[in-house]
């Protein structure tokens, strides 16, 4: 299974403010009733974007100046809460290719990487600088360069970012979906299973 090598992501960006944005907010539970992820992008941030009558609320994703943005900028501890992959799926299906935040919750980060969505962390001042830039000019092109580990915006702003080394490697090598590698290890898996007493016991029964 050949995957794209993800070396950089470029596009316009939009800032969704707020610390501790949880996955219930990213995609409310009632939209999890689906046996595929198709169409889930429409419901991204549903309850903060629309009121109960379906009228648009004030929200960056409802602002036409940011329509078509490919990079989501968030604050601290983005994606906390449930393990639902529906969260990064809805972000991706809504057209986003990467997320920049000060920090990410663990499961959300892992789910995103597995879908080939880089989640990169920048310091608070750098986050603020990026936000100021794209808010002042929503047409600013932002590039997340995974090789050099820097985010560039509008030609002159460049800020460093961090990302777990394992995630960075797998994005750069095109192994972000690990299934091919996991399948390759089948013989070794057998050996591990054979040395675990509880697995042997079940096999013997």
């Amino acid at each position: 299974m050949a995957l794209d090598l993800i070396q950089s992501v470029t596009g316009r960006a939009v800032h969704v403010p707020g610390d501790d944005i949880d996955t219930d907010r990213i995609i409310p539970a009632r939209f999890l009733k689906c046996v595929t992820f198709d169409g889930i992008g429409e419901h991204l941030f549903r309850d903060v974007r629309f009121d109960e009558r379906g009228e648009k609320r004030e929200h960056p994703l409802n602002d036409p100046r940011f329509a078509g943005a490919a990079i989501l900028i968030a604050d601290r501890n983005f994606g906390c809460g449930s393990s639902r992959e529906h969260a990064p799926q809805s972000i991706s299906k809504a057209g986003f290719k990467a997320v920049i935040a000060e920090s990410f919750a663990e499961i959300f980060f892992g789910n995103s990487t597995t879908l080939g969505i880089p989640c990169v962390s920048v310091g608070p001042e750098h986050r603020a600088a990026l936000v100021a830039r794209v808010s002042a000019d929503p047409t600013t092109l932002v590039t997340i360069d995974l090789q050099e580990q820097v985010v560039r915006a509008g030609g002159d702003l460049a800020v460093p970012f961090t990302i777990k080394p394992g995630a960075r490697e797998s994005l750069l090598r095109g192994t972000w979906d690990p299934i091919a590698q996991l399948l390759e290890g089948a013989d070794e898996v057998q050996k591990v299973a054979a040395r675990l007493p509880y697995v042997q016991r079940a096999a013997a029964q």
Binding site: P28, A29, E85, S103
Partner: protein, 469 residues
């Protein structure tokens, strides 16, 4: 220096290091449910793969099952479709499925332990973040996404980054009316909702050693609310006594052998930890949340924080947002806040001991007239055991509805939902905006006995006063 349980179990289950630097880890027990797993079978099919070790995966129904009328087909066609998709996939792939008629159905984190599937020294994965619950048995248990569910189905392994380990040492005797729920709310409040990112939490100390398995499960359950994907307690005699005789527990000679393994994987006396935190359990009071994250918690006797009290602008913004959503006023006591709904249940507090403890307190009390009160057992086994003791009658007499098992109003993917901006005193684990089914619904997390006290008074109240504890 010695090793922690986390490191021992990880090393035993490690298959190899992948080129990315992550480890390929063998998964000993895989639990699945109808919301995050049917899609994974579809992915498997698209790749032309089959389930590698079907005997290591077990399926149940919990999130979307109605708790009033379980007659099939469900009124909600989408829910029916998901159940159907899971049932078909399990049959096709030879995976054991605890269906509604099995007598064993229930919330995935309740039935695993109950059936003896959850055992010390295992790696346990499930497409659900509260998989950390199973850590109560000394397992490394964690939530995964749907694509990872596919990985486990296809290979019985995952690609993962090893975590650091933080020891949380809890000492001291709990005060009256204080429960495991209050301890974990206090830990989250102290360390923050993202304090556990990158860590596995090892809970220990005299308080935890004195805990029953059900209390340990409540504690480990909410590790994820503190940002820790994994939380565990070292296995001991309490653990072994709980497992013994359960349907999937080892028997006869195998039991002795299992005991040897279970003892061997406990953390060494001199284990090395990346961090150590100490908590004085005797100083903790009944705790409730006031905001929209589980870390926004105070003792029931405290006042709701005001934005001005915060140290910096980002905290002030968080407080303002929470107060506005919760429609609470900073600087005012939380006690006396009117509630509309009371919910006792969920994988945090939907076990037999929870219902026993509440029943013991509410005898002779009545739920306030304006409160809708729900008691939802976490599994068919919990329901049976509670009913055999007559607890259902105690709850009904007090004015609670006694429901069929499921996740119910914890997440409200079934018909149990808040309406409008109703405020719910809830024994569940998340108070996020919209969590209980209404986009403007409000949740206040607390222990089951505190929920009962709120139900009786019709407002947030100190259970110690209401029940004379």
């Amino acid at each position: 220096m010695g090793k922690s349980l986390y490191d021992k179990v990880w090393d035993l289950h490690k298959v190899r290091t992948l080129p990315s630097g992550e480890d390929q880890l063998f998964i000993g027990l895989h639990l699945i449910h109808e919301v995050t797993s049917p899609q994974a079978f579809g992915m498997l099919r698209d790749l032309g793969l089959r389930v590698r070790m079907p005997e290591r995966t077990f399926a149940t129904l919990d999130h979307i099952v109605p708790t009033d009328n379980r007659k099939r087909p469900f009124k909600d066609a989408l829910a029916e479709g998901m159940v159907d998709a899971l049932r078909k996939a399990c049959t096709e792939q030879g995976v054991t499925f605890f269906d509604l008629e099995s007598g064993r159905q229930g919330i995935v984190h309740i039935i695993g332990p109950e059936l003896g599937l959850t055992q010390p020294g295992m790696t346990i994965a499930c497409g659900d973040s509260h998989t950390s619950t199973h850590g109560a048995f000394g397992a490394i248990a964690f939530g995964i996404g749907t694509t990872q569910v596919r990985d486990v189905l296809a290979t019985q392994t995952l690609s993962l980054q090893r975590l650091k380990v933080r020891r949380i040492q809890v000492e001291g005797k709990l005060g009256p009316g204080v429960y495991a729920k209050d301890i974990i709310l206090e830990i989250i409040r102290r360390l923050g909702v993202s304090g556990g990112t990158g860590y596995a939490y090892e809970y220990g100390g005299s308080t935890i050693e004195g805990f029953s398995m059900e209390e340990r499960m409540t504690l480990c359950n909410m590790s994820i609310e503190g940002g820790a994907r994994v939380g565990y307690v070292n296995p001991d005699q309490t653990t072994f006594d709980y497992i013994k005789g359960r349907p999937y527990a080892p028997k006869g000679e195998a039991w002795e052998e299992a005991l040897g393994y279970w003892r061997s994987i406990a953390s060494d006396e001199d284990a090395r930890y990346d961090d150590v935190v100490r908590i004085d359990a005797s100083a903790i009071a009944p705790t409730v949340t006031w905001g929209i994250t589980p870390g926004q918690a105070i003792s029931v006797k405290e006042k709701v924080p005001a934005a001005e009290d915060a140290a910096n602008e980002s905290e002030r913004a968080l407080i303002r947002e929470a107060l506005e959503y919760m429609r609470l006023e900073g600087g005012k006591p939380i006690e006396g806040t009117k509630i509309n709904v009371a919910f006792i249940g969920s994988c945090t507090n939907g076990r037999l001991s929870d219902f026993r403890e509440v029943a013991r307190r509410i005898v002779g009390h009545k739920v306030a007239a304006h409160v809708r009160a729900l008691a939802v057992p976490g599994s068919m086994e919990v329901a049976r055991a509670a009913e055999a003791e007559g607890l259902d009658r105690v709850f009904r007499e007090a004015g609670f509805e006694w429901r069929e098992p499921g996740c119910s109003m914890c997440l409200a993917m079934n018909p149990d939902k808040l309406i409008g901006d109703e405020l719910c005193a809830s024994s569940s684990n998340r108070n996020f905006k919209g969590r209980q089914g209404s986009p403007t619904g409000r949740t206040v997390l607390m222990s089951p006995v505190m929920v009962a006290a709120a139900a009786v008074r019709g407002e947030i109240a100190d259970a110690r006063d209401v029940f004379g504890i």
